[in-house]
Symmetry: C2
Subunit: 349 residues, 2 copies
C-alpha cells in the first residue's frame, strides 16, 4: 500500500484533529432530523409443506397452542434504517454497511458508550442509512435445514484474532487477564460488551445479500457507501452493478474486492475509492491474504487513472488501530480523515 496523502496533508489533518477535540469539549448542537424510519427490501416467498405439527405455550399464562410449521414465509429480505436531515450538507446519502456476523448496530454507538460513526456523519451533514443485511438482525433469517444451511457462530476467542484486539491466540476468558497489543486502541474493558453485538452468520448467502444490497442502491441512490470488512465485497459489487448510482466507496479494511481479471474494473475507475487500514495486519496469514487481494484491485484502479486512495493509518503515524477501528478510542480521528477525503472528492455541497 502506498498512501497518497502527503506530509502537508497530514499536518492539516492533525490541525483539524485539534479543532475537533476542542469541539468535543462543548455540548454538541442538536441534529435537525427531517425523518427517521426504516423499511425491508428484497426477498421472496417460500412455502413449506409436509412438516409435522408442534405444540407450544407462547406467552406466560396463555393457552397451549398447536403450531403449524407449514405455510408461506418471507425470506432473504434486508432491513434498512434511515435518518434524513432537515438540511444535509452532503450531496448524497451515506450508506453504512456492516461486517460479517454483525448488524447496523455497529455504527450507532461504540461498545464503551460513546457516539458511533452514525452520529459522527449525521453531525457532519450526511443523511445516513444503516442496514442489517440478509440473514441477520432485523432482516430476520430463514429456517434451516429446510430453507437455509446451518449458520456459524463466532466465538469471543475467534473474534479476538479476527478483530486484531491482541496478538493471535492470546484471548483469555477472564477479562482481568486480557492483554491487547501494547499500542492497541480498542478499549479492552468493553470487549465482552462488543461481543454482545455479534450475530450468527452463514457461508452460503452471499448471492442473496448482494441482490438485496443492489436493490437498496436502486431505491435510495445516488449515494456514497462506507463498508466494513465483509461489507467490502458487497459494496464493490454494488458499485460494479450500478456505477452510475454509486458516487464513492470507502472500504474500512474490506475483506475482499473484485478480481481485476474477472470484473469490469474500467467501469469502476470513475468512482473515487478510499481504502482504510489499521495496524498489525501482518500478524496473520488471513489478514495478509485479504490485504493482498484488495491491493491488486486498488492498484489496477490507480493504473487506469481512477482515484484509489489509501489511508494506511500506521504510515500516517496513527498506531495500534484494530479491525474494529470505528470502535477504537481514536475512532473519531479516523472518521475525520474520511470526512476530509469526502470533502476533497467534492461529495459535499
Amino acid at each position: 500500500m502506498r498512501p497518497i496523502l502527503c506530509r502537508r496533508l497530514l499536518l492539516v489533518l492533525l490541525g483539524l484533529g485539534v479543532i475537533f477535540a476542542a469541539a468535543l469539549s462543548r455540548p454538541a448542537a442538536a441534529i435537525e432530523v427531517e425523518e427517521i424510519g426504516s423499511f425491508h427490501i428484497g426477498g421472496h416467498k417460500v412455502t413449506l409443506t409436509g412438516l409435522p405439527m408442534r405444540e407450544g405455550v407462547f406467552t406466560a399464562g396463555g393457552p397451549l397452542r398447536v403450531a403449524d410449521p407449514n405455510g408461506d414465509f418471507q425470506v432473504e429480505q434486508m432491513y434498512v434504517q434511515y435518518v434524513k436531515l432537515a438540511n444535509p450538507k452532503a450531496r448524497y446519502p451515506l450508506l453504512m454497511w456492516h461486517g460479517g456476523g454483525m448488524t447496523g448496530a455497529m455504527w450507532e454507538s461504540k461498545p464503551d458508550g460513546r457516539p458511533g460513526w452514525q452520529s459522527f456523519f449525521l453531525r457532519a451533514g450526511h443523511d445516513v442509512y444503516l442496514s442489517d443485511a440478509v440473514e441477520r438482525g432485523r432482516a430476520s433469517w430463514a429456517r434451516y435445514p429446510e430453507i437455509w444451511t446451518e449458520p456459524f457462530f463466532r466465538s469471543e476467542n475467534e473474534a479476538w484474532d479476527i478483530f486484531r484486539i491482541g496478538p493471535p491466540k492470546s484471548y483469555q476468558t477472564d477479562p482481568e487477564r486480557r492483554v491487547g497489543f501494547s499500542d492497541g486502541r480498542f478499549p479492552l474493558a468493553f470487549y465482552d460488551q462488543f461481543m454482545k453485538q455479534l450475530v450468527p452468520r452463514w457461508a452460503t448467502n452471499d448471492a442473496a445479500i448482494q441482490t438485496a444490497y443492489d436493490q437498496l442502491v436502486q431505491r435510495v441512490c445516488p449515494c456514497v457507501i462506507i463498508m466494513f470488512s465483509q461489507g467490502g465485497n458487497f459494496g464493490f459489487g454494488a458499485a460494479l452493478h450500478a456505477p452510475d448510482k454509486v458516487k464513492a466507496v470507502i472500504g474500512i479494511e474490506p475483506s475482499g474486492a473484485p478480481d481485476p481479471a474477472k470484473s469490469n474494473v474500467t467501469a469502476m475507475k470513475g468512482i473515487p475509492h478510499l481504502f482504510v487500514y489499521g495496524d498489525h495486519l501482518d500478524v496473520s496469514d488471513f489478514w495478509k491474504q485479504m490485504v493482498a487481494n484488495v491491493r491488486r484491485y486498488q492498484e489496477m484502479l490507480a493504473a487506469q487513472g481512477g482515484v484509489a486512495d489509501v489511508l494506511d493509518l500506521p504510515k500516517l503515524g496513527i498506531k495500534g488501530n484494530t479491525h474494529a477501528m470505528m470502535m477504537d478510542n481514536n475512532s473519531d480521528q479516523i472518521a475525520e480523515l474520511i470526512q476530509e477525503w469526502m470533502n476533497k472528492q467534492n461529495l459535499m455541497k
Copy 2:
C-alpha cells in the same frame, strides 16, 4: 371492557383528529435530536466445548477456513436503541416494547411506508427507546440445540389470523385473492411487506427476556412503557418488579397480564394503566381468552382504586382495527388518543 372515556372526550378527540389531519398537510417540522445511539444490556457468557471443527469460506474470494465452534459466547443480551430530544416535552422517556416474533422495527415505519409510532411520539415530545428483546433482531440469538431449543417460525398464514387481518383461515397465498374484514383497517397491499419484519421466536426464553427488560428499566427509568401483545406480560412484569421506576404502562392488546391471585397487584395500583383494543376480538377462542385474562387484572386494579383505563376502539366508534393497529390506516388517530391519555395522567411537562 367498559371504556371510561365519555362522549364529550370523544368529541374533543375527533376535533383533535381534524387538527392533526390538517397538520399532516404541512411539511413536518424538524425533530431536534440531542443524541441517537444504542447499547446491548444483560446477558451472560456461555462456553461451548467438544464440538467438531467445521470448514467454510466466509467471504467471496477469501481462503477456506476451519472454524472452531467451541469457545466463549455472549447470550441472552437485549438490544436498545434511543433517540433523545434536545427539548423533550414528556417528563419521562417512552420505552416501546414489541410483540412476539417481532423487533423494534415495528415502531419505526409502517409497512406502507408512512412514519411509525416512533416518529409520532418523538414529534409529540418524548425521548423514545426502541428495543429488540432477547432472542431477536439485533439482540442476536444463541445456538441450538447446544444452548437454546429450536425456535418457531410464524407463517404468513398463521399471522393473518393472529393479527386479525381478516376472518380466521381466510389467508390466501396470492395477494390478489386476499380479502380482509369488510371494515378492516390494515392496508392489505402491504401484508407481505409486513411479514418481512417477522423474526423466529422461542417458547422457552421468557425468563431471560424479563430479566433483560428489568435491567433496562433499572438503567433508563423512570419511564413510561408502551408494550404490544407479547410485550404486555413483560411490561406488567417490569412494573411489578420496579413500581417506583415505571410511571405508566400502556398495553396495546397485551396478550397476557399478571394473575391477580399470584401477583402483588396492590403495588401496581399507583401506576396508571391504559389498555387499548381493536376490533373483531370475538373471532377466535385465542383472543377471547387473552382478553378475559387481561380483564381480570384490569378490573382488580380498578377495584383497588388504580387508574385502569380502557380504550375500546369499536365502542368509541373506531371500527375495523387489527391487532397491528400501529400499522393500520388510522394508526395515528389511535396514537393521538394515547397521547391525550398521557396528557391527562400528567406525564407531560
